[in-house]
Symmetry: C2
Subunit: 552 residues, 2 copies
C-alpha cells in the first residue's frame, strides 16, 4: 500500500487540469471536474472533445466520487459520456447541480446517476479523503474551490477563480474561509493559471455594470446585448440597467431562455415583475424601451446574434439606430467570426460596442497579483499550476518563485503525468494514458484515428472517384475510366485526364495479373499510379478513391 | 465626356481599397496597388485571393498605369495574375520595384512588362492625371503615399503609413513634403484605417530596438528572433543589437535569406563585415555569441520557426537556455498557431518572449491621433477611409467628424461602389463587378464556384463512395453495394448499412426504369435515397458519390 499522494491530470488537450484531475491515495481515487473541450479549427466535424478515461476505468473500483467545482461546460460537459462507464457519485454546488441534472435528463441518464448537492463548509468523507468546498468568484455563480484532506496532508484546489471584492451576486471569494481551511497547513496547491501572464488585478464585474448602465441609459434606440448564456451576473447587470432606464428585456435564443428561467427559479437572478417580456411584446414597444439579451458573443454561426448579423433571423432584424453590445472577449480561434459579425452589424446601421472599444467585458480568472495572494495565503509546500496552456503554467511558476516557493517543489505537469508526493518529497514517477476522445453525434472515436487527417486532406484537395471497368477476358480496361470530382478546383480537361489515366492503367494491366489472389496488389498499384498521374497533371493531391469493377 | 472624378475600390474582400483602387476621369483610369489577400480558414486549399478585374478589363483601353505604394504582398502580389491580361506600365518605389522584378521573373513575365522606378517628388503624367509620390513610414522601407492631380482637384492617397519620428532607416513620414503638396487644396483624401479604433499614437520602431538590445545583451544563451521577412527595419535592429553584444547573426529560411541579400544589395540594410555567418558556422560558436534570425512569426506551418517548434527542422533544435523572441503580433486567424508554437518552444526549454509579455513588436499603421493629424494637414473636401474592415472605416469616419469634415462629404464604400465627385458634390452612383478570384497552383477559379462548399462539407462529414452494380436483365442490384468511406467517423456497421442501402435501392429499382433515357433521373433518385438513408442511420451527411455500373 503506497503511502504517497498521487496527482494525475487527465485529458486537457494541453491545458492540464482544466477538464479532469485525479487524486489518489491507497485504495481511493477522487476526480475533480469532468469537462469537455470545444473542437479547434483543425478538428472539423467534431462536436466535442472529452478526456480519455482509460486510466480511471482500469481503476474503477477505487474511484470514490467526481467533484465538480462549477457549472461551466469545460468542467461538467463530459459527464454524460463518462458516467455510463464509470458510475460514481457526483458532488456539485447547487447551480452546477441543476445544470448537470438537465444534461443527464437529456441523455436519459438521470435515473441511474447519483448526483449530490454540496454546500460550502460541510466535509464529505470519501474513503481516505475528506472534501470540503469553499466559495470563489468566477464568471458563473456558485463556483467553488475544494480543500481535500488526505493522510499525507491537505490539497487545496482553487477551481476557476478571481478575487472580486464587489461581485454582482454579493458573494466575494471567501478569503476568510480559505484562511481558516489553511490553518493546518497546505501540502499542495493547485491553482488557476489562465491569466498568470497578466500583471495586476482582474477588474471587478462592477466595472462592466457601470458601463452597461451608461450605454443602456444613453442609447437612442434598442439595445441588444450579447453575452455567454452562463454569465448570470452579466445578465443581472443587464436587468438592473434596463430597469433603471425604464426599459423592458426580451430574451433571444434557446439557451438564454433556459438559463434565465433556471437561474430565476433557483434564486440566482432577481428580476422585477414585468421587466421580462416576450419577443413579440418587445416588438410592440418604443425602441428606446427595449433591451434584447441574446446569445452569440463568440460568433457561433448558429447563434442568434450571428443570424441577426446575417439577416437570417426569423424574428429580429437590425434597425438603424440599434446599439449592439458584445459583452465578451473572443476566445482564441473565434476572432474572425466575431469580427465579421461586428462588420455586418455595422453595415446594417447598428452602432456596435465591443471589448476593443468599450469597457463591456471583464473575464473571470485571476491575474498575477491575485495569484500571488493565493500563493501567500495558502503557503503550500508543493505547487502545481493548473488550468492553463504550457506558457500560462510557466508564467504561474514564475509567480510562485517570486513569493518564495522553491523550484524543486513546483511541478509543471502534462496530462497523464503521475506526481507522487510522499515522505521523500515530490517526484513525477510515471505516465498513464491520458489522451482525448472525439464525440461526433453518437459516435466516440479515438484521436489517433485517420479520420481527421483524411478530412484535412479532403478539405484542401477534395476527392476524385475514379471508376475503371476491367474486361475479364482481355485483362485490360473495357472503357475509358470515369472521373467524378468533389472539392477539386477543376483542371481544364477532365476528359483528357481520364484518357491519360486509362492509358497508364492499361500499360500497368498488361504486365500485372488480375487473378483474384493478386488483384488487391494490382489494385494498390493502380491506386498509386492514378495518384501520381493526377499530381503530375494538376499539381494537386486530391484523395483518390479507385473503384475497379468486373475483376474476375 | 463626364466631368467628374470616379473612385472605385476593387477586390478587397471587405477591406476596401487595400488591394486595388481605381481612379477615373474621362478617358483615363489609374489603378493604385495590385495586391493579394491570403486565404482565410474557410478557404481551404486556396493559395491566394486576387481581385476580380472584370471592370478594368472591360475598360482596358483606358487604363494608363498601375501605381504601387509599397512592396507588401497585399499591394503587389496580384501583379503576376493581372499583367498578362492587362499589360500596362507599373510604377513603384525602388524596393517594391526590386521585389516585383523578382516576382515577375519567377512567372516569366519580366520581359513583356513595363516596370518603372519612381522617386518621390517627380511628377508622372498619366493622361489627364499627374501622379507624384511622397515618403511615408510603414513596416517596409520605401513606402510611399501618392498625390494624384486631376482636372477636378487633387487626390491624396496615404498608402499604408504611420508617423514615426525616429524610424530605423532615418526617413520619417515626410510631413513637410505632404504639406507642400497640399498647398493647392486637397479635393479627396484616401487614408489608411487599419488602426483607426486605437486611441493615441502608434509607438516608434525605436522602442522595439531598445527592447531587442536589452534582450540580446542579457540572454544567457542563443537568441532566435522571428519576424516578417519584409520587416527590414526590424532586421536592422537585430543586426545592430547583435553587433553591440558581440554576437554573430545567421539567417534561417529561404525568404529571410533572399530578402536580406536583396536589401543589402539595394542599400536598405547595413551590415558590418563579418556580422553575418552561415548556419553551420553559427553552430560552432559559443551560444552567447549567436543570434538566429528566422521566419515564422505568424505560425505558418511550413516556416522555420514552426518546424523548430515541432522538432522537425533539419538543422536547428532548441537548446534549453535559448531565448526566442517572436517579434510580431498574430494577424487575426493566426493566434492558435502562434500559441501552439510558443507552448512547444517552452516545452523544449526555451524562454519565449512575445507581444503579450514583452515589448517586442510595434505595428506599422497610424493610430487615431496620427490619422487626425493627416486629416487636418490635408484638410480635404471629401474623405474616403480605406484599408480597413467595415468597423475600421467607420471608426475613421468618426475621427473625420471630430476634426470637422461634414458627414455628407465622407463616404464609407464597399468594393465595386462608384463614387462620383463633380460640380454637384459627391455621390455613390453605380456599382461594378468587384468580387475576388481564387488562385490555386496554376488554376484561377471564381469565388462562386461550388468547390469551397464541397470542401467544407467534405471536411466536416467526409465522403462515401457507394458502388452499385445493376443487373441489366433484372433491373435490380446484382450484389450488395460496396461502400468506401473517407473522413467519415465510422458508424459501427458499414456492412449492415450497405445491406440497407441495397434493399432500399432494390425497392426503388423495382418501380423505376433503367432505360438509358431515364437512367439519369433514376440515378438521381438513388442518390437522394442513399443520402437520406445514411443520415437516418448515422446522423451525418457525408458527401455521397454514387457509382452505378452496368446500366444497359
Amino acid at each position: 500500500m503506497p503511502s504517497s499522494l498521487r496527482v494525475v491530470p487527465l485529458g486537457g488537450l494541453g491545458e492540464i487540469g482544466k477538464n479532469m484531475m485525479a487524486l489518489e491515495y491507497g485504495d481511493d481515487i477522487v476526480v475533480i471536474d469532468c469537462g469537455v473541450l470545444f473542437p479547434e479549427e483543425d478538428m472539423p466535424g467534431v462536436d466535442l472533445v472529452i478526456p480519455d478515461i482509460t486510466y480511471l476505468l482500469e481503476n474503477a473500483h477505487r474511484v470514490r466520487a467526481i467533484l465538480i467545482t462549477h457549472g461551466h461546460e469545460d468542467h461538467t460537459g463530459a459527464l454524460p459520456y463518462v458516467l455510463p462507464r464509470l458510475n460514481v457519485p457526483v458532488y456539485a454546488p447547487r447551480l452546477a447541480h441543476g445544470l448537470i441534472r438537465v444534461k443527464l435528463l437529456q441523455h436519459h441518464l438521470l435515473e441511474d446517476s447519483e448526483l449530490e448537492v454540496v454546500e460550502p463548509g460541510y466535509p464529505i468523507p470519501l474513503g481516505s479523503f475528506e472534501a470540503e468546498f469553499f466559495r470563489v468568484c468566477h464568471s458563473i455563480p456558485d463556483s467553488m474551490g475544494i480543500l481535500i484532506r488526505t493522510p499525507v496532508g491537505a490539497v487545496l484546489h482553487t477551481g476557476d477563480f478571481k478575487i472580486d471584492h464587489t461581485p454582482v451576486d454579493g458573494m466575494p471569494t471567501s478569503l476568510g474561509s480559505m484562511a481558516k481551511l489553511c490553518e493546518g497547513g497546505i501540502l499542495l496547491l493547485l491553482s488557476d493559471s489562465t491569466y498568470a501572464e497578466l500583471p495586476g488585478y482582474t477588474l471587478s464585474e462592477r466595472v462592466v455594470g457601470e458601463a452597461l448602465h451608461r450605454v443602456i441609459a444613453e442609447a437612442p434606440g434598442r439595445v441588444l446585448v450579447a453575452t455567454f448564456a452562463s454569465l448570470i451576473s452579466r445578465m443581472q447587470q443587464v436587468f438592473n440597467a434596463a430597469a433603471a432606464s425604464g426599459r423592458h428585456v426580451a430574451l433571444v435564443g434557446r439557451s438564454m431562455l433556459d438559463n434565465v428561467n433556471m437561474s430565476i427559479q433557483m434564486g440566482y437572478l432577481s428580476v422585477a415583475d414585468g421587466l421580462l417580456v416576450s419577443l413579440s411584446e418587445a416588438r410592440r414597444l418604443e425602441h428606446d424601451r427595449v433591451v434584447l439579451l441574446t446569445t452569440g458573443s463568440q460568433g457561433e454561426p448558429t447563434s442568434a446574434l450571428a443570424r441577426i448579423a446575417n439577416q437570417d433571423h426569423r424574428e429580429i432584424s437590425i434597425i438603424p439606430g440599434d446599439t449592439v453590445v458584445i459583452s465578451a472577449t473572443p476566445i482564441p480561434g473565434n476572432e474572425l467570426s466575431v469580427s465579421r459579425i461586428i462588420d455586418n452589424l455595422f453595415r446594417q446601421g447598428a452602432r456596435v460596442l465591443y471589448d476593443r472599444v468599450a469597457f463591456v467585458h471583464v473575464h473571470g480568472h485571476a491575474s498575477a497579483e491575485e495569484l500571488k495572494l493565493i500563493l501567500n495565503l495558502t503557503s503550500p509546500k508543493y505547487f502545481v499550476p493548473v488550468h492553463g496552456e504550457h506558457r500560462h503554467l510557466l508564467a504561474h511558476t514564475a509567480l510562485a518563485k517570486d513569493v518564495g516557493i522553491p523550484g524543486e517543489n513546483t511541478f509543471v505537469l502534462e496530462d497523464g503525468d503521475v506526481l507522487e508526493i510522499g515522505e521523500d518529497g515530490g517526484h513525477v514517477v510515471d505516465s498513464v494514458p491520458a489522451g482525448h476522445v472525439f464525440v461526433e453525434r453518437n459516435t466516440l472515436w479515438s484521436s489517433d484515428s485517420p479520420v481527421l487527417r483524411e478530412r484535412w486532406r479532403l478539405s484542401r484537395d477534395g476527392v476524385m472517384v475514379v471508376t475503371m471497368k476491367v474486361d475479364e477476358f482481355t485483362g485490360l480496361l473495357a472503357d475509358t475510366p470515369e472521373i467524378v470530382c468533389r472539392g477539386v478546383a477543376q483542371p481544364t480537361d477532365i476528359t483528357g485526364l481520364a484518357e491519360k489515366v486509362g492509358h497508364a492503367a492499361d500499360v500497368l494491366l498488361e504486365k500485372a495479373s488480375i487473378e483474384p489472389d493478386v488483384w488487391a496488389a494490382t489494385k494498390a498499384k493502380l491506386d498509386q499510379l492514378v495518384g501520381e498521374l493526377v499530381y503530375k497533371e494538376t499539381g494537386r493531391r486530391p484523395m483518390i478513391v479507385l473503384v475497379a469493377t468486373e475483376a474476375p
